[in-house]
Amino acid sequence: MGLRKATRLGVTGILLSSAALADGHMDGMGPAELLPLAQQEGTVTVYSFTSRIGKVEAAFEAAYPGIDLQGFDISSTEQIARLRAEAQAGVTNADVIYISDTPVVLTALLETGIIAPYVPPRVADRVDAQYQSPLLAQRLSTKVLMYNEEANPDGAPVSNLWELTTDDWRGRVVMVDPLQRGDYLDLMTEIVLRSDEMAAAYEAQFGAPIALDGAANAGEQFIMDLFANDVILVGSTDDVNVAVGALGQDNPPVGFTSYSDRRDNEEEGWALQVANDVAPAPGIIFPAVLALAAEPKNPAAARLVIDFLMGDETETGGPGLAPFYVAGDYVTRTDIPPHPDAVPLDDFSAWRIAPAETATIRAEIGDLVLTLQ
């Protein structure tokens, strides 16, 4: 009895470790080696924080017939909640995780072993080390101040963030509730982390040093003043885009949204443009990362998807990267030329977030925002 049990345990152990070995072995494979294994698996599930996964799905299935990519558009915040619940249940639904909100992802998903890093060997030498670890960043995304260029043909109507706290902009600044979308909380957090710059900008705007009124620093004071100035909170980025960008408005508001949503201007009837010159910075720029589930059901197909999402060997990355090769998204691959219509990354004045640092005071800023509502 005992012997048989031991044998069974041993067999299980060997099976498990060989599975792990097989998985690990795949890390060194290129797309050509992964493909037959992936086709055997036949399907792969992707959780994506962007609706562009729909385009990726069509392109992937065209490029690799026989593999059914199931893409699910789930906000980063919700992905985190869902992945934690699934891990608790011992269920793995997703093979590939495509997500922003890195301050939370690193602590809640990576350190807890729910997701695992993966860098396709094919592109490893063409992505900066800072974007390979701890997770592979596919591109940089943004939450920045945008305005309506149809109503403001001469450029941004705002040159300093502090203007948004004045009467001129009362009830005319739109953003997503930072308590409902993590990247907006990251934006608020970054404003506080950059309090020195905010203090300097205050003096430049009003000609006097900032006097703190119940706030711990200039960043907090800005958030408090912004909320006191009747900032309008909406439920999703697209609501901001419509509010700010819709054509035919006499006196449109400004708002914080994704620079890359400018790509939809023509299709949606918007006139979104970034206020890049606003002092001290228009907003934040942050990585969108790709990761594997810790134990993906379809390990080969999952790796193939990540490989695909990093773009092929054509000049602009081909169909896998096409949905992301747009003005306002900054692809991390060094050999892909920057998008011609966008402000070059070096000239883009948005703050780069440091996820680990953001994580330290993020909850505190969330509480601050909470008291203002």
Binding site: A89, R172, V242, A246, E268, L370
Partner: protein, 581 residues
């Protein structure tokens, strides 16, 4: 008799009547409802999370986290429940007891608003009343040149109106069913004694239908305070928070501890209100109005008021049913929601995938995800209607027949509990409860079974309450006669109670089916890619800016709901006897 024991002196002592039944039902309800919620409570008591209590109740965040949302929540609950009972009661009275013109039309239309998801009604409100506060596209009325003030476009006023127009049909259904069973003996006796219409209304009909009025008010209160979609869509731009939007926000950003605390407090507050309501009902001894004899009373003659009252009723009904449906349908066809009635296209319904259009999403009939979700949703609706009515019948029968004792009170209170728990919190609790393996039982996360079990538990109040209002009126005398002739429990249930109460039970079944196929809040967390449901897909499309797909799916949900109701009506031709002349 299993539930009787006789001691040496021939007196029943060990078990009171119904004890076995009550114990079974109570155990079932504890498994379905109490344990998942208890898990949430225990979660907030863990050392890591216990601080959430002081944050919510007394810290510097308490005003924002709890007290302000609480004020809004109570205002919504009270205004909406009073409004619904008045409106639903008024319409039920017109349809059941008067000779108002087009009674059938009014009766059918009054049941429709509840089938329209409340988030759809809120979206429709926005399409009409949205002003330029949020910028971007304005609503149709502002587009016509009217200046819509903020208070009418956003916040508490539209929330109250939309929720009242949504929940009043629930009150109508319950009150109409009760009015239809008012015994003609009572009314005729009063008429013979010379009582006038008003006197009969106040002296007989109101008191007799009091359980239904209280049940209707309670259900509307509970529904309104836990509704998430409407205050979220209409309140967020003016930063109006209710406990449910606050709870959702907390869980969304991963502050689960605070979220659960808010949820627990919401449950506690609503429980106080419902306990008070229950006291009012159980203070009276008998509400039996369907007895072995008796017939229909004559209708009140409205005389000159027939058409004016008809006009009032139709104004409300058109606003609550036809307008939202037109707006939803139009916006499932219009590429731009700014111009609802021009440039219509069928792409969102029957178009093939086109990369340059809506991110390449094909029209809904060609969309695999939507078709799979349709199958799952229908199966879920049917399964939950059956399981829900099964448990609901047991519970309502038990509490109606064996009203005495703490166990009956507990059954009533527990079966009410899920109403007070916002769906999203209930979903979260169920993931914690059945998401991980328990002993030999595997984790149910992502399975059809989890959806069915959670939905059955979540919707139990509806099956129990609708069943109860009717069962309570089935006179105990009939069953007692059967018992004296030696019929067992199952026999009595099958031969007397069920046939007499089938109307209420069927109504409950329909209510459950309709409620689950258009429910969003419960399934939004239970949803997994392999087990998709329509409402979540609609919500996802809406939140990603593909409003047309969302509205097209909503129209499908609407169509199924209406079809379900019509089929059920046909199968049960007696289900609305008040419509017969």
């Amino acid at each position: 008799m299993a539930d009787m024991a006789v001691n040496g002196h021939g007196r029943r002592v060990i078990f009171q009547q119904g004890t076995v039944l009550k114990t079974m039902v109570l155990a079932l309800l504890i498994l379905l409802i109490v344990l998942p919620l208890l898990r949430s409570v225990l979660f907030t008591l863990q050392p890591d999370n216990i601080r959430a209590w002081s944050d919510v109740l007394s810290g510097r965040l308490a005003t924002s986290l709890f007290y302000k949302p609480l004020g809004n929540t109570l205002l919504i609950g009270i205004v909406v429940s009073v409004g619904c009972v008045l409106l639903g009661g008024f319409l039920a009275w017109l349809v059941v007891m008067t000779n108002v013109p087009y009674r059938k039309t009014i009766g059918v239309m009054a049941t429709l608003p509840f089938m329209i998801p409340s988030f759809a009604a809120a979206l429709a409100w926005g399409a009409l009343f949205r002003n330029d506060r949020v910028g971007g596209q304005v609503g149709w009325l502002q587009g016509l040149g009217l200046d819509i003030p903020d208070w009418l476009a956003w916040g508490i006023v539209p929330t109250l109106i939309v929720l009242t127009l949504h929940y009043f049909s629930l009150a109508f259904t319950i009150i109409a069913a009760a009015l239809a069973t008012v015994n003609s003996d009572l009314v005729e006796a009063a008429q013979i004694a010379g009582a006038k219409g008003r006197r009969i209304l106040m002296g007989i009909i109101l008191p007799v239908t009091m359980p239904a009025l209280v049940a209707a008010g309670s259900l509307c209160f509970a529904g309104a305070v836990s509704n998430f979609a409407t205050p979220a869509l209409l309140g967020l731009p003016v930063r109006m928070q209710t406990l449910s939007t606050r709870l959702f926000g907390m869980i969304e950003v991963g502050q689960v501890g605070r979220g659960y605390v808010i949820g627990i407090l919401l449950v506690a507050i609503s429980a106080v209100f419902l306990w008070a309501g229950n006291r009012i009902v159980s203070g009276r001894r008998s509400y039996a109005t369907i007895t072995g004899k008796g017939g229909r009373a004559k209708r009140f003659d409205l005389r000159g008021m027939r058409w004016p009252l008809f006009a009032i009723a139709m104004t409300v009904l058109v606003a609550a049913t036809i307008i939202p449906v037109i707006v939803l349908t139009a916006s499932s066809l219009a590429p731009s929601s700014a111009n609802l009635f021009s440039g219509w296209t069928m792409h969102y319904w029957i178009g093939q995938s086109d990369p340059s259009f809506a991110q390449g999403i094909p029209g809904i009939v060609h969309n695999e995800d939507i078709m799979r979700a349709l199958t799952v949703t229908l199966a879920l609706g049917l399964a939950v209607a059956i399981t829900g009515m099964g448990v609901g019948l047991l519970a309502s029968y038990t509490t109606a027949r064996f009203r005495e004792g703490w166990m009956s009170a507990a059954i009533t209170q527990i079966s009410f509990l899920p109403l007070l728990v916002p769906g999203i919190a209930f979903g979260a609790a169920y993931i914690a409860y059945l998401g991980a393996p328990i002993g030999p039982f595997p984790a149910l996360y992502g399975t059809f079974a989890l959806l069915v079990i959670a939905a059955t538990a979540y919707l139990l109040p509806f099956s129990v309450q609708t069943g109860r209002a009717v069962i309570q009126q089935v006179g105990g005398e009939l069953e007692e006669s059967a018992r004296m002739t030696g019929a067992g429990f199952l026999r009595r249930l099958g031969a007397i109670t069920v046939p007499l109460a089938i109307r209420g039970l069927t109504a409950g079944g329909i209510l459950i089916f309709v409620k689950i196929i258009r429910d969003l809040s419960l399934v939004v967390l239970l949803f997994t890619p392999t087990m998709p449901v329509l409402s979540v897909l609609a919500y996802r499309y809406a939140s990603e800016g593909f409003g047309q797909f969302a509205n097209a799916i909503t129209v499908v949900i609407l169509f199924i709901s209406i079809a379900a109701t019509l089929i059920a009506n046909r199968l049960q031709s007696k289900s609305q006897p008040w419509l017969q002349n």
